[in-house]
């Protein structure tokens, strides 16, 4: 059957709200009896707090309260409870809150915040994760290892700064390397980086005098946030209401709980008043969550024919002051640094290390860009060592049906066809030859293959509530956060397709509200189309079933003889006697009022299947609920005089099972690629020796502009049906960023002969490398 909506470039259902400025974000919200907060930040990266003097600030106009951490004994978390909502007696990063002024206006809060005086006794500053992980390094948390935690998954090492170590032990690595004809080993760095969603983080919180907690937050995980608040304040979950309006981009930077516990703690000190805080851009850089921050070593061994026999990696993450948001990234970076390749023998140690930066959290790709940056470059280097064309080496080792990944999971055909992705990318990139070096420019071509399998809670589920109205229009409530990825549009397409109704008659509930929305794990891991979509499809199928059931009661025939065509139900062969959907929606009412059947309101639930946490000893297990494979290639041009890199052509091909919407998916790929170019060529949080971040606005922390967009995009898809997904779809959202950095660096190597292993590679790095090679 041909589809009407699925697979079509349907216009976004949230688009009109957004182009007119009517879409509401947290910063746009004003509620009655609302005050404004301004935070006094530490400004020193590691110190004991000696004293806080709030007297002058408290006497300033409009000030209701100055809140400090004095007397606060709360530690919040989801799996590792190591963070206070506001600094108590010590600051562990320079952006940490030490006092919060609450005043009638934002300006009054700002003016008063200037008057708060804090004195500190400095402590040693640790920024490098390898140094911080060494035995004898000063401890950032003396209680590491003693904090409340879920011990099966968070493996803290007491007496050190390592709050989590993930170990992968597959096969026998020593024996594997002994079989290798060629071994290559290299060190890599992926710096701390900022998500830079255009909407700064914000939250409004009120502790009502009746004992309830209300919150509006820019957050991808309202139900997690709700549970954290319940745990922090010992309030029943049901007395907490979290609302998320439109979200102005997340990229993982809003998927973890970060500034909300602080706002809630402050609100708890002024019951009855709503407290609003929207971070300045500077605060987003210094005091929300940041990403990446990896130093790693990788070693890969291969036989002469190219067969990979063993890999080993040691990875350290500079995870900042607190560990709850980064430990799972550490785990994923570890078990998926093998990329889309089969290795019979693996040994990986991936460590989350406390350092004196803002805490690290999820960032698009979730450990995959870090781990596969190494693997993507390693395979390129190994190909030359082996004297093999890179695509041949890839094909020799690709994961595919029947092969086993690092976790010990056996890949199925439905998981995707990376060979076909490589074919398409090679064809696209080889269609035009790479220009030869000339007076002004060097040219290079790079290629990388990737795999992403999202990390998620083993009980991660989506729920759709569906109601059919008396005019046949349909309302769906699913708490997937619309943050630009387009899930509301894709859900609408799926519902219209299954129900056979015009898409205009499907209405997705816009605001997520934990009081009314069905439980959803969280909007992360590229799972909305896949997991949320299954819930939507199921709810729609059940609605059809209920409509047919109601009709069967009216028609006096078995339900098997009732057909549904989108507008009406009718008995097979009696299409002229139609019972409209609207007439069946609330049960069917005969002329005399007698009503049969039940209102058509359904629930569709989908939970990821068979996911378990990795085994604590081997790190193996069924940790991935799905895979998506892809291949990317780039042609770059380097200006010899300046080291400036232009991306002439960037080609991507992914296997998302089935493309739901060619317009929105293209936007995801192009957007992910350009974000990846930022990581490859531009972005790095710069810390001074005092541990304070120096580049805290977009003039200093440059992210790609239109000038950095590739001259040409190739964006293609292979569609290997995935029967587990709705309409056979697989996740595709974070994926386009995963392989961009190694692809670009492989191209830079091709152009210059220089093996770049540290991100970002900026013009100055290229010039320096070119000078060195000329000197040889």
């Amino acid at each position: 059957m041909t589809s009407r909506y699925v697979g079509k470039g349907i216009r976004r259902v949230d688009g009109a709200d957004k182009v007119t400025g009517q879409a509401v974000f947290v910063a746009d919200i004003t509620v009655p009896r609302m005050l404004h907060a301004k935070v006094v930040r530490a400004g020193v990266a590691h110190a004991r707090i000696l004293s806080i003097d709030t007297a002058e600030a408290e006497s300033m106009p409009g000030v209701h309260k100055v809140v400090t951490g004095q007397g606060c004994n709360i530690l919040f978390g989801t799996c590792l409870w190591d963070q206070p909502p506001i600094a108590v007696d010590r600051v562990r990063h320079a952006g940490e809150p030490v006092a919060v002024v609450v005043a009638r206006t934002e300006h009054q809060a700002e003016e008063a915040a200037r008057k708060v005086k804090v004195s500190y006794d400095p402590l040693p500053i640790l920024l490098d994760p390898v140094e911080a992980a060494k035995p004898g390094a000063p401890l950032i948390h003396e209680k590491n290892g003693q904090y409340r935690r879920i011990g099966y998954i968070v493996r803290s090492e007491e007496g050190s700064n390592i709050f989590h170590r993930y170990k992968l032990r597959k096969g026998d690595v020593a024996a594997g390397f002994a079989e290798a004809d060629v071994v290559h080993e290299e060190h890599f760095e992926f710096p701390l980086s900022a998500h830079c969603a255009l909407e700064p983080h914000g939250a409004i919180c009120r502790f009502t005098q009746a004992g309830d907690i209300e919150m509006w937050a820019s957050n991808q995980a309202p139900f997690v946030l709700r549970d954290v608040l319940a745990d922090m304040f010992k309030v029943p979950v049901t007395r907490i209401r979290v609302r998320v309006p439109y979200l102005g981009g997340g990229f993982g930077g809003k998927s973890d709980v970060c500034m909300e516990p602080m706002v809630a703690y402050v609100a708890s000190q002024v019951p009855g008043w709503a407290v609003k805080l929207v971070l300045s851009r500077k605060e987003v850089f210094t005091s929300s969550l940041i990403g990446r921050g990896m130093k790693g070593r990788m070693k890969v061994g291969a036989r002469k024919d190219g067969t990979f026999v063993a890999m080993e990696a040691e990875i350290y993450f500079a995870d900042g002051a607190y560990g709850d948001t980064s430990w799972p990234v550490v785990t994923v970076a570890g078990h998926n640094c093998t990329g889309p390749f089969e290795f019979p023998n693996c040994k990986v140690d991936s460590c989350g290390v406390y350092t004196n930066s803002p805490p690290v959290g999820a960032f698009r790709g979730y450990g995959h860009p870090e781990g596969q940056f190494m693997m993507g470059r390693m395979v390129d280097m190994l190909a030359r060592k082996l004297g093999m064309p890179l695509p041949d080496l890839m094909r020799k080792n690709f994961l595919c049906e029947g092969k086993m990944n690092g976790l010990g999971q056996v890949i199925k055909k439905s998981n995707g066809d990376i060979f076909a992705c490589l074919d398409k990318v090679e064809k696209a990139i080889n269609a035009s030859p790479l220009p030869a070096e000339d007076e002004t420019y060097l040219y290079g071509r790079g290629l990388t293959a990737m795999m992403k399998s999202p990390k998620m809670s083993a009980n991660a589920a989506s729920t759709a509530f569906l109601q059919v109205s008396n005019d046949g229009s349909v309302f769906i409530n699913l708490a997937g956060i619309e943050m630009g990825q387009g899930c509301q549009t894709v859900f609408s397409q799926m519902a219209a397709e299954v129900l056979k109704i015009p898409i205009e008659r499907v209405r997705m509930y816009r605001e997520v509200d934990t009081q009314f929305s069905p439980w959803e794990w969280q909007t992360v891991a590229s799972m909305q189309t896949y997991r949320g979509g299954r819930a939507v499809v199921l709810a729609c199928e059940r609605a059809i079933e209920m409509l047919r059931h109601n009709a069967s009661l009216v028609l006096g025939c078995p339900i098997e003889e009732v057909e549904y065509d989108g507008d009406a139900c009718f008995r097979t062969g009696q299409a002229s006697n139609r019972l409209t959907v609207g007439s069946l929606a609330r049960g069917y009412m005969f002329g005399n009022g007698l009503t049969v059947g039940t209102p058509v309101q359904t629930t569709g639930v989908y939970r990821v299947q068979g996911v378990t946490e990795p085994d604590p000893d081997t790190g193996m297990g069924n940790a991935a609920g799905s895979w998506t494979f892809g291949v990317q290639a780039a042609d770059v041009r380097i200006e010899k005089a300046t080291g400036k890199v232009d991306v002439l052509h960037f080609a991507s091909c992914f296997d998302p099972g089935r493309v739901m919407n060619p317009v929105t998916i293209r936007g995801q790929i192009a957007g992910g690629v350009v974000q990846g170019l930022g990581a490859a060529l531009m972005e790095k949080l710069e810390f001074g020796p005092d541990g304070v971040i120096k580049n805290t606005n977009f003039a200093q922390y440059r992210i790609p502009t239109i000038d950095d967009m590739p001259d040409k995009f190739t964006i293609e898809f292979v569609e290997t049906p995935n029967p587990e997904g709705p309409f056979c779809a697989k996740p595709i959202a974070e994926h386009p960023i995963v392989a961009v950095a190694p692809t670009i660096l492989n191209a830079l190597r091709d152009a210059t002969g220089v093996e770049f292993t540290r991100l970002p590679v900026r013009p100055a790095d290229i010039l320096e490398a070119l000078r060195k090679t000329e000197g040889v």
């Binding site: 957004k18 182009v19 974000f25 851009r281 690629v673 977009f698 502009t705």
Partner: protein, 157 residues
């Protein structure tokens, strides 16, 4: 206390300023309730807060509100005609140039300013104009297409 009088989307407004460093964006958003103007960076580097002041695009997060005294300001709220979207707004939707939507109002305003002054703006002028805006979602491909599409539609409008 400083008071300013100006026109916003054709309507006369008089506003008291809390202090003399108040930015135009704050007046629009907080005092006039025009929250379509977005603050992404606060220092005029992301373009999300772009509005037109006497027809010229400005980053309203850096413009002192008192300097808007006596001007005519146009914001995103002044673009659609009732429920009929402006051709630029339609073009952004058709080109798939909207994702999270936070940068969109500023882009629409800047596009309007460019095409009003240069109905035949070439790609070079379009790129020059888009250089003032950051978008973290789209990779710019669809935004560039949206502005080209807007150009055609405003010419034929």
């Amino acid at each position: 206390m400083t008071t300013i009088t100006f026109k916003v989307n054709g309507i006369a407004q008089t506003v008291d300023l809390e202090h003399d460093r108040v930015r135009l964006s704050e007046v629009l958003r907080t005092q006039l309730g025009l929250t379509g103007t977005k603050i992404g960076c606060g220092v005029g580097k992301c373009g999300s807060c772009t509005v037109l002041v006497d027809g010229e695009p400005v980053t309203s997060c850096t413009l002192l509100a008192r300097k808007a005294d006596g001007t005519e300001v146009r914001t995103i709220e002044g673009m659609a005609d009732g429920t009929t979207l402006h051709p630029i707004q339609e073009a952004f939707l058709d080109a798939g140039a909207v994702q999270c939507g936070f940068c969109t109002p500023g882009l629409v305003m800047r596009t309007y300013a460019l095409l009003k002054g240069h109905p035949n703006a070439d790609d070079g002028q379009i790129v020059e104009m888009l250089r003032h805006h950051l978008c973290r979602c789209t990779g710019y491909e669809a935004i560039l297409e949206a502005v080209r599409l807007s150009r055609g539609r405003m010419q034929s409008a």
